[in-house]
Symmetry: C2
Subunit: 116 residues, 2 copies
C-alpha cells in the first residue's frame, strides 16, 4: 500500500517548529507529530529505544535486543523498521550485523513539542 512518504520530523533549521501545546496546529503538522508519537505508542518500541540508549556506545544490533524484550527476532526487526521509518532511529549495516542508534535530535524535538 502507498505508505505515505514520511515528512521530516525536524525542519531544516533543526531547532524546530511545531508545539502541541503552544497553540493551533495545522493538519499537516499534527499528522507529522502524530506519526512520530505513534511510533512511541507501543511498549516494546519504548523498551527498544531505552535498551539502545543503555547499550555501550549507545548503539545495539538486533541480536542484542531480542532476548531482553522476549519476542521473536522477526517481530523485533519489524519494530525497528517502524522506528527507523519514524526517524527516531538510524540503521547502519556493519559486516553481518545491523546496528541501530537513536536520533537524539528527533527525540529531543518531539520532547520539546510537549513543552510550552
Amino acid at each position: 500500500m502507498a505508505r505515505a512518504r514520511t515528512l521530516p520530523l525536524l525542519d531544516a533549521a533543526g531547532s524546530c517548529c511545531s508545539s502541541v501545546v503552544g497553540g493551533a496546529l495545522d493538519a499537516e503538522d499534527a499528522e507529522r507529530l502524530a506519526r512520530a508519537f505513534k511510533a512511541l505508542g507501543d511498549p516494546t518500541r519504548v523498551r527498544l529505544l531505552s535498551l539502545i540508549a543503555a547499550s555501550p556506545g549507545r548503539e545495539a544490533c538486533v541480536c542484542d535486543l531480542v532476548d531482553p524484550v522476549g519476542l521473536s527476532q522477526p517481530t523485533v526487526s519489524h519494530h525497528m523498521k517502524l522506528l527507523v521509518d519514524a526517524g527516531l532511529v538510524v540503521r547502519e549495516q556493519r559486516g553481518r550485523w545491523a546496528f541501530y542508534r537513536l536520533v537524539d535530535d528527533a527525540l529531543a524535538a518531539l520532547g520539546r513539542s510537549l513543552r510550552p
Copy 2:
C-alpha cells in the same frame, strides 16, 4: 475486556521518573509511557490538544472542537475520552457543557522523558 487500570503518568513526586532515552526501562515504565504516547499517536487527538491550548482560558467544550477537526461529534467525544483516560486532559462538567483542559504536568513529564 479488562482494560487495565491506567497507572498514573507521574509518580507522587511529580517531577518524575522514567526517561526513554536515559537507560534501561523496566516493562512497567515502558507500558505506562507507551500508553501516554499512544494517545498522542493520532493526528486528530494532536489537533484536539492544540485546539484546547489555543482556546480562550486554555479550555474548550466539545462543541468548540467538532467543527475545526471536521469529524462527527461522537468521534470527537471518543477521542476526548481517550485523552482523559491517558491523563493528558481533564474533563469538567459545567451546566450542559463539558469543558476540557490540558494537564500541563503530564504533558511536560512526557516531554521530559524524551530528553537526556
